[in-house]
Subunit: 152 residues, 2 copies
């Protein structure tokens, strides 16, 4: 953690200990990208298929997900530092507040992506549209609110 | 927690301890609703103004958020049980997998709402569109991906 250098204008704080609530990893995301330099800036529904491997005892919770075309994937950016309040984004002029950016660096490094549901094979969900590293821990999966279920 | 009765067809599991990662509450959400029976089923951009009170040391991280019209509010549903894999949603015929519902009851009870940004007053962000209880812990705040910033 916190291994990246701070750039000009960026501000780090001493964060309180992250002990207000605890997460359980419900699965693991398999993607083609094993280094941050390889990941796309943003996922695309035309991108490669990524696999969400769901752990027990949660696999039963997938029942009915196949009726949706689009899912919201929630994951834990386990390599991100958590202490920057001002940081430089891509293509911005100067530093900006963390809450005004979708950077992985934030007090609680939770990533939220909309993904296209390709299919479900046993305990594995196939999607397109992610941009995270291979091995990223999965913390939640929900139907995307803006998209209605398709009657099959 | 887990104080609600289980209804017909619902299935609870014994979840692993939630110790894979830790969250820090970055603020508190003030809404008009103090009991679950009062909260709307889904927030509306025509709904009442809700206040996101940001705690130190995170207030500097709001810099630049005022350029966005819509924000993604991420919060911790602290009253929700975490052990159901099949549950009954509103208006559905039978039980459905937790990951096929946007119910607050899930392994990691994280709520994600799009909200309209009304304004920022010091360390407080005013929004419309939430549906959570007064006092709900805030865990993140980001520009909504689908909406571009407005040049002011």
């Amino acid at each position: 953690m916190a291994s990246d250098d701070i750039r000009e204008g960026e501000i780090a704080v001493t964060p309180p200990p992250p002990t207000d609530a605890g997460l359980v990893f419900i699965g693991r995301i398999r993607t083609p990208w094993t280094a941050r330099s390889e990941t796309p800036r943003q996922g695309s529904f035309d991108g490669p298929i990524c696999r969400l491997e769901i752990f027990e005892p949660w696999t039963q919770a997938l029942a009915g997900l196949d009726k949706f075309e689009q899912v919201q994937v929630v994951y834990w950016l386990h390599q991100a530092r958590r202490d920057l309040v001002l940081q430089r984004g891509h293509g911005h002029d100067g530093p900006r507040g963390t809450f005004a950016l979708r950077s992985p660096v934030r007090p609680n490094p939770i990533g939220i992506s909309a993904a296209a549901l390709v299919g479900i094979e046993g305990s594995t969900v196939l999607v397109r549209g992610l941009d995270c590293l291979d091995g990223t821990p999965l913390i939640d999966l929900k139907p995307d609110r803006c998209v209605h279920s398709v009657v099959k």
